[in-house]
Amino acid sequence: MSKKECVGMLLAGGEGKRLGLLTKDLAKPAVPFGGKYRIIDFTLSNCANSGIHTVGVLTQYSPLDLNKHIGIGKPWDLDRQADGVSILSPYTAKEGGSWYSGTADAIYQNIHFIDRYDPEYILVISGDHIYQMNYQKLLKYHKEQEADATISVMEVPWDEASRFGILNTTDDLRIYEFDEKPAKPKNNLASMGIYIFNWKSLRSYLMEDAKNPTSSHDFGKDIIPAMVDDERRLFAYQFEGYWKDVGTVQSYWEANMDLLEMDEMVSLNNREWRTYSHDSNYPPQYINGNTNITNSYINSGCWIRGTVDRSILFENVEVDSKSTVRQSILHPRVKVGENSVIERAIIKEDTVVPPNSYICTPEGEEPYVIDNENVGIVTVK
């Protein structure tokens, strides 16, 4: 196996409990996003566009759809025999097997996989963030700082800083303290959960951490603090651009709406930084009769006879006549019967919304997540 400068490890094992119905049978990174993507496509495309061609995807929870989606990695040009994308599930060895018990443990259990490529650096990323980032720039910065670890950060408003993991740094961005959700933040540089480590150094911390029975085996809680304590060279890399953790239904909905409004920040149409995903070969969308569609993303195979405004429609969605869809996200193959109104809702794939439905999330509430089981209950009209 040939040596790789940098191997990417993509943490995609989270259950995403706070996404409720959206992650019922689905790993969080596999949740549909942005009209034709899944959440993980953004990170995978970042890897592809950054020339990180060796990526281990750590899965654990309901990985079937995720595995099917990633498949052999064709859309991201990661379908390679020698490197490319590898899906790493828990396994048993001579001494028995165990599930991944934390982010650091997940990497620890795959040390053999990483060692195979004998890398200088490890990029650790999450499969549930929406952003477009060139990891090569991060790596270049890491090398320039001669750092042991580099953490990508962004400035957050001071009054929100206490919701994040805050990195306290000296003026030259060297990290001297990691503050998880500080009551009184001393800084407003929040960790984005994107790390570069020198593999040799990380490897020894992982070995130590694995021996520690009181550790939670987490990068943010255990590994980074241990490195800070040892006064290793840890640096913050300041990212400017759009980044969002889609951890809740509300933030999931907001991030989708951001795609419509914040084109200049996170563009799907950037030819220099394509976001790749599957294409199911649906025929072109069919706009039938006299429709009114504004400020929306609409994917192939849709059939629109009604009104669509500020919404995102995935493949093969149908909106029948005299119906209106507003500020909503309709997952693949949703059918909206005629004379219905959908407002500020998320409709899960294959849901059939009967005619004359009225699904509107009241102001101030978290958007409804609708599937075939609750569609009858929520409908009020």
């Binding site: 942005g34 072109p284 993303y297 192939s300």
Partner: protein, 369 residues
Amino acid sequence: MESMMGLINLEHEHDFLNELTYFRCGAAVPFAGRYRLIDFTLSNMVRSNVQDIAIFTRNKYRSLMDHLGTGADWELDRRHGGLFILPPDWNDPTDISKGDLSHFHNNRDYFNRGKSNYVIVSGSQYLSNADYSDAFDYHLERGADVTLVTTRVDELGPEHDPCLRINQDDQGWVSDITNERSNPHVFTGVYIIKKSLMLDLVDECIAHHKDHFFIHGVKENLEKLNIQTFEQTGYSAFINSIESFYRHNMNLLNPENYRELFYQNAFIKTKISNEPPTKYQDISEVKDSLLANGCEINGEVENSVLFRGVVVKPGAKVINSVIMQRCTIEEGVHLENVILDKDVTVTEGQTFIGSHEKPFVVAKRTVMS
């Protein structure tokens, strides 16, 4: 388990589409918002479990190569079998073959190497959404030498003029293959033949200095061969002129035709292009149209087919038109009965109007100002 190899023979398809075939062969002409003509034949073959497909081509096949790539988008990027684009490239001084027979002759290796005993042959101008497995089963069941895939046409039009017509006896055996224009039983150009028979007929044709395998090898041997037909139903189209090209694009705006061509069987596969969903802006007005992904619509689109990545700016009007990949229609433009090839820009305020019978056709990469 018998199976078929595929052969898409473009040798006799002339550059029938004027401006659209200046720089590409007919098989590579874009159609229906996201496809190329050849996608229909290719997808039908793949769906019929054909795992080796050769394309006989002679001219202007660069954009075809570009479109097909490794064949991955049709699941034809295989280590064994797969997709073979076979341009003419022979250097055998003893070779006396002519016309498409030289393709057959020079690519004998392709046929010999393939594991299948049968070959399905097609051109690229007949479009349908079909699974030829039924035709193949029928071919085996009837013990035919050749089975022609045919269709019955309710309304014969000029696009059927070049097509051969079929007469049969009551057992279904073909008694005559003619050019009789009033016969609605039309040969689609698709046929199934046993590989060994095909190669024998090829040798015979070459020995007699012939130049057209189907005409001289099959049609002229009608007496000797047992030929069946397999009739195909469902929406289909022959595209062999600008007029039929335009009309069949427009026909797809009829929801029934659209469903029949695209949703009846599995999907037609084409090159994957990673365009995002189409973005509708503040003031778009779209009526009865097909739009591929990656468009940005800020103007008025009616009764039109828009390919991937078309930009329609505010105040522009596109009516009864076919607009290919990455065209930009600037502010205040008015287009009616127009076909724009790829990468055309129509600058602010311009108006271009053709007629239904004679749409206004603009070649690739033109800037209309």
